[in-house]
């Protein structure tokens, strides 16, 4: 009886919801049919594997998604060689520490307010002084922006850095989304700001239902031209199988979840499905706790690196869909990475190094003991939600046995794993690091200061010297050169060993939409894929590479 | 020391469910028994007669009152000491199908009191002897019955096993709670006779709880009639049967009379 009542209530609730949403969708329908002029596709459905809230910069990190709503001064990202002005009309470096940026005029926020230089000034100051998020170190630390002034014309801003900042335009300007001052100055606690994001970008966020979907509508007044898609619907589908089920059954048109190697063949057979290959600028790495024995020894770390047969990991775990991490860290496709880097596989040398270090198998159990004669057994921590990395770790375990080092794989739930890694409560781990970590050169410096790759408090004279040289360098070229040296140094004794550079494959239904472009590090689902030809040309995007 | 085997002084007992609701089961019951005496406790269902038995045997505690057993105050005893007295007070239950553990063999069942009271501990032969003796005293051939399970026995045989269990440690007092009510007519007298025999041979006393006055006639020395938790009449068995005083006793007897005379 009780259940029946509940059932009726829930049915009633459903009816009400039905009423509400149906009225909503019908009104939307009318609106969209009115301004259909520039539109190529009415609606595109993109499956996304996770969500990040109502696109508050402070609470979620999914760059390609926030990018749809927000614009940056430069575009597309810090991961390309030369980002181009976007919200900025132009930018010039006056001296080592001063930049002038002129913003475009006539741009409006999604709520109709005018976009002004005030917004830019506000945003940069907010990032610098306010609570930290993933972007803030680009103004508060590397580089450090001291003052921001709006010049008399009201459209030009002057940025003054604390020390030389040659890469402002290529990195900072290309990375920081601009927030609307009129909204954010009233936000009391940015982390509890739950309103839907308002930006200047090509798409307006019209609905967000946690764990269910995002809905975007084209910003037809977009300053780079009206988007080619009128409506973006993004159901959130966590499970990989469910996602590709939806794709094959035609319920979604494409997905940001990349196609696993084992599925490639099946999807390729599906009519109207096209597969595009991209380089995602990410690395799957074998992180070592450089603060503990035996990983505190540079030679030991190097021996480990020499003992890894990256090629066989790629062929087994990825079925060849990726490149072996033999070009070290950071990502070799980034313009900021030294192309000469090399992390070879050489068991003999690894063995010799370990012998020299005094790690010998004194009890003949097949594993080396420490120089003190104690048993040596090391853990590889890995998140239980990442079967691919578990497999990778299992392969590492086998490979390390070849050079006599005993490793044991330890799985834990994702949050426990991340906590363990961030609190240095691990011995080694396998995980993925994305473009922000391995393609943004400033981040490489940050990582060395923050304890990610190294920590400030631990002496590392060679690196410290390079870092201070880097700080003092005033041109991008100079910095690049120093960066290359730092990278060479780093890869000789890596604290995080690059295992492989995954290649990511996107599948999409070409019958519905076939205008995708790749934006380096973002894959094919990025805002430029939905902008008209002119806009794509401005930013350095590349046509998609189809998998045959 | 008094000559009384058992003396009950103003026993009271109620059952509580909540402060507002309590059922009086016994209100101020007093009586006594002499050694070797057989006393019948008569009453209809709900009169409280079983409760008296359960209180004496320690299955329940009284709210107030005294129980003197050979001069020992039972209610104030510690459980451990109280248990020692169990040798002298044994109980026979109403339902022969329920009272014997289906998992134990007959000899185990009969030996259980010995085991519990640690009589002849370690002397297995002596124990077996006692068990056999007890079985014989209830006319069960030990060799045939010892290794059987209760479910292989008829109701009458089971009740005799129950009796043998009570006899085995030669108690002074046996509380027999309607031992015959579940038995067929022909078996009732058998059981009564066995009990009587034990009384004559060993001087065992019985507190015989029943609603069937007819059974008490040749068995009990004295009757106590209980109604709604109060004693309404006591006296020599024949006296009570022949000259009931209390109307309740009269009704009880009349009822039987009617049955006996084929409906009168």
């Amino acid at each position: 009886m009780f259940k029946k009542v509940l059932g009726l209530i829930s049915l009633a609730v459903l009816m009400i919801i039905a009423g509400c949403s149906s009225s909503e969708s019908s009104s939307e329908g009318k609106a969209s049919s009115e301004n259909k002029n520039n539109v190529e596709v009415e609606e595109l459905r993109i499956g996304v594997p996770s969500d990040v809230g109502p696109l508050n910069i402070y609470t979620g990190n999914m760059d390609w998604l926030t990018d749809l709503v927000y614009d940056k001064l430069f575009s597309p990202s810090p991961y390309v060689d030369e980002p181009q002005p976007w919200l900025a009309e132009s930018a010039e470096q006056l001296d080592d520490t001063t930049w002038h940026v002129k913003i475009r005029s006539g741009i409006k926020w999604h709520d109709g307010e005018d976009f002004t230089a005030e917004d830019v000034k506000f945003t940069y100051e907010y990032y610098r002084d306010g609570p930290p998020n993933r972007h803030t170190h680009h103004v508060s630390e590397v580089p450090k922006v001291d003052t921001i002034e709006i010049l008399e014309d009201g459209e030009t801003l002057e940025f003054k850095c604390a020390y030389a900042c040659p890469s402002m335009a290529t990195i900072t300007f290309a990375d920081l989304p601009i927030l609307p001052k009129h909204i954010w100055e009233n936000v009391e606690n940015p982390r509890k700001h739950t309103d839907l994001a308002i930006g200047t970008g090509p798409f307006k966020l019209t609905a967000y239902e946690p764990d269910q979907y995002y809905q975007f509508e084209a910003n037809t007044d977009y300053f780079m031209g009206a988007p080619t898609v009128n409506k973006l619907s993004m159901p959130i589908i966590k499970d990989s199988t469910a996602m590709f089920n939806a794709l094959t059954s035609g319920e979604i048109d494409t997905t940001t979840r990349t196609v696993p190697a084992e599925l490639q063949e099946t999807l390729q057979k599906t009519d109207s499905m096209k597969l595009a290959s991209t380089s995602p600028l990410s690395i799957v790495q074998f992180g070592l706790n450089y603060e503990m024995k035996p990983f505190n020894s540079e030679e030991f770390r190097q021996a480990i690196s020499l003992g890894i047969d990256r090629e066989s990991i790629v062929s087994t775990v990825l079925l060849g869909q990726g490149r072996a991490g033999e070009k070290g860290y950071p990502h070799p496709d980034s313009p900021w990475t030294n192309p000469e880097l090399s992390t070879p596989f050489n068991i003999e040398e690894a063995n010799n190094m370990l012998d020299d270090l005094g790690y010998e198998d004194s009890n003949h159990d097949g594993y080396r003991e420490t120089p003190e004669g104690k048993e040596l057994k090391l853990d590889i921590s890995v998140s239980s939600a990442e079967p691919l990395y578990i497999r990778t770790a299992e392969m590492l375990q086998t490979q390390m046995k070849e050079i006599g080092i005993q490793f044991e794989v330890k799985t834990m739930d994702p949050a426990t794993y991340t906590a363990a890694v961030s609190e240095d409560d691990f011995e080694s781990y396998v995980s993925l690091i994305g473009p922000h970590g391995v393609a943004d050169p400033d981040q490489f410096i940050m990582s060395h200061r923050s304890s990610y790759l190294w920590t400030k408090d631990l002496p590392y004279p060679e690196m410290d010297e390079l870092v201070s040289n880097w700080m003092n360098a005033t041109t991008i070229e100079e910095r690049k050169a120093i960066s290359f040296d730092m990278q060479t140094l780093y890869n000789e004794q890596p604290t995080a060993i690059a295992l492989y550079y995954p290649e990511e494959i996107y599948a999409y239904n070409a019958d519905v939409y076939d205008q995708y472009v790749e934006s380096l590090g973002f894959g094919i689902i990025n805002k430029f894929s939905f902008l008209p030809e002119e806009a794509r040309e401005v930013s350095s995007t590349t046509p998609v590479q189809l998998v045959e | 020391m008094s000559a009384d085997l058992l003396r009950i002084n103003s026993l009271k007992k109620s059952f509580y469910r909540s402060p507002s609701l309590q059922t009086k089961v016994l209100s101020d019951v007093s009586f006594s028994m002499k050694e070797g005496e057989i006393v019948g406790l008569i009453g209809a269902s709900g009169a409280g007669k079983s409760t008296i038995g359960r209180i004496i045997s320690g299955l329940e505690t009284a709210d107030s009152g005294e129980i003197l057993f050979v001069g020992n105050e039972l209610t104030k005893m510690k459980a451990k000491v109280r248990r020692q007295l169990a040798k002298d007070i044994q109980m026979v239950f109403q339902d022969p199908y329920e009272a014997l553990s289906s998992r134990m063999k007959i000899h185990e069942i009969v030996a259980e009191p010995l085991h519990i009271l640690q009589i002849e501990k370690g002397n297995l032969e002596q124990r077996t002897q006692l068990v056999k003796e007890a079985l014989r005293s209830v006319n069960l051939e030990p060799d045939y019955y010892m290794n059987r399970y209760p479910h292989e026995l008829s109701g009458g045989e089971r009740q005799r096993v129950g009796l043998a269990r009570a006899f085995v440690c030669k108690p002074k007092l046996i509380l027999a709670d309607e031992p015959t009510s579940m038995l067929d007519t022909s078996l009732r007298l058998d059981l009564i006779r066995l009990m009587k025999k034990m009384n004559e041979q060993e001087g065992t006393s019985y507190l015989f709880i029943t609603h069937d006055i007819a059974l008490t006639r040749d068995f009990c020395d004295r009757l106590i009639v209980l109604k709604n938790g109060e004693i309404v009449e006591t006296g020599e068995t024949l006296d009570v049967i022949m000259n009931p005083v209390h109307p309740y006793t009269k009704t009880l007897i009349e009822a039987l009379f009617i049955l006996e005379n084929h409906g009168g």
């Binding site: 009780f2 259940k3 059932g7 209530i9 829930s10 049915l11 009816m15 919801i17 009423g19 949403s21 969708s25 459905r45 969500d51 990040v52 809230g53 508050n56 609470t59 990190n61 609570p131 930290p132 998020n133 993933r134 606690n189 982390r191 509890k192 946690p210 764990d211 269910q212 619907s233 159901p235 959130i236 966590k238 499970d239 469910a242 996602m243 089920n245 939806a246 094959t248 059954s249 319920e251 939600a385 739930d413 949050a415 426990t416 991340t418 906590a419 363990a420 961030s422 609190e423 690091i433 922000h436 304890s451 990610y452 | 059952f15 909540s18 402060p19 507002s20 089961v25 269902s45 409760t51």
Partner: protein, 337 residues
């Protein structure tokens, strides 16, 4: 009245249970390592933060202060039904819950009722025909059903009915785009719900069936059945009025208990079908260490279970007149039979 005192005592005990459970719910996620900041900032950024910055961030999320302070805030939140903002979703916890509850009720509620109806009728039918071929056929069928893991059924259904045959959608509770009519919406909701409902039903019907069967057999063997049959009443009345009504008592208890459990227990099925229910919300929140969200879900599930328990306790007398005014507590027999 006597009944009242008992109810009071019972409610008192429940309040204690609720309190302890709430405390466990508070403590449990905090005992696990990791905090919501990791989810918030991501692995790279969190390493760049100083201890003060982390503290500040926690504070701004309402998770600052000592454990006692947090506990106090939590308890206050429980009573005012204000759990704050979900860290993961950046939306008020109550809002997320309000959105999820109808879906869970629709899914689990329908499945529970279906499973009950099917299980009870099959169980009763089977018991009535005990030993016959049809009893054994149903029995083995049900036992087999009960042996299949729910997620496995779900995956198979999804592959066959949604992907291969394309009869049903593969994910979610409702399509994002509607045709605008109420009827269309209902059709859409139903088509999304059919497979998961069926899966939960199949996964739970076995236990309802077995319980009904054995409890039916128990009451079929009772003396009152012989008496009722000897009255010459019709077979239908015999089965439904006499046997089933008695057999339903343990089933009712089982049912009320499973209401609460299933509320938070359909995680796996909801994951398979990407259905936005409470179970999956719990799973997601645990993974993200989204404390405010977790607390909200916990409270909901706990209250569901305890409420179901309480309802079972209090309504049982309606179904069984014997416990309505029993003279004594269980096992305390006053007089002999």
């Amino acid at each position: 009245m006597k009944h009242l005192a008992k109810v009071k005592n019972k409610i008192g005990q429940y309040i204690l249970v609720i309190f302890v459970t709430l405390t466990i719910n508070f403590a449990l996620p905090r005992l696990a390592p990791g905090d919501p900041l990791l989810y918030f900032f991501g692995e790279t950024t969190i390493n760049e933060l100083t201890a003060e910055q982390k503290q500040e961030a926690l504070h701004s999320l309402g998770l600052g202060g000592s454990l006692w302070e947090q506990y106090w805030t939590y308890l206050k939140g429980v009573f005012t039904l204000d759990f704050g903002t979900s860290i993961k979703y950046g939306v008020a916890v109550t809002e997320v819950l309000a959105e999820r509850i109808p879906w869970t009720l629709l899914l689990v509620g329908t499945a529970l009722i279906l499973s009950l109806v099917i299980g009870v009728s099959a169980g009763a039918y089977s018991a009535w025909n005990r030993g016959k071929k049809r009893d054994l056929t149903i029995l083995t069928g049900m036992l087999t059903l009960e042996s299949i893991p729910g997620f496995w059924i779900g995956m198979m259904f999804l592959s066959i009915f949604a992907v291969q045959l394309g009869w049903f959608p593969t994910f979610g509770a409702v399509s994002m785009v509607q045709d605008g009519t109420t009827w269309g919406y209902i059709k859409d909701v139903v088509s999304h719900a059919i497979l998961p409902v069926l899966t939960i039903t199949l996964a739970t019907v076995g236990s309802n069936y077995l319980l009904t069967r054995s409890s039916m057999l128990e009451s079929l063997g009772q003396d009152y059945m012989t008496v009722a049959e000897a009255k010459g009443i019709k077979k239908r009345a015999l089965v439904f009025k006499h046997a089933l009504r008695n057999a339903l008592l343990p089933i009712y208890t089982h049912f009320t208990l499973s209401v609460g459990t299933l509320l938070g227990g359909a995680v796996v099925i909801e994951t398979v079908y990407s259905y936005p229910g409470i179970g999956r919300l719990l799973y997601e929140s645990v993974t993200a260490r989204d404390f405010p969200m977790l607390q909200g879900v916990f409270l909901l599930v706990t209250m569901g279970v305890i409420l179901a328990n309480l309802i079972a306790d209090l309504t049982y007398p309606l179904f069984d007149p014997r416990v309505r005014n029993r003279k004594e507590e269980k096992g305390e027999e006053i007089t002999h039979a």
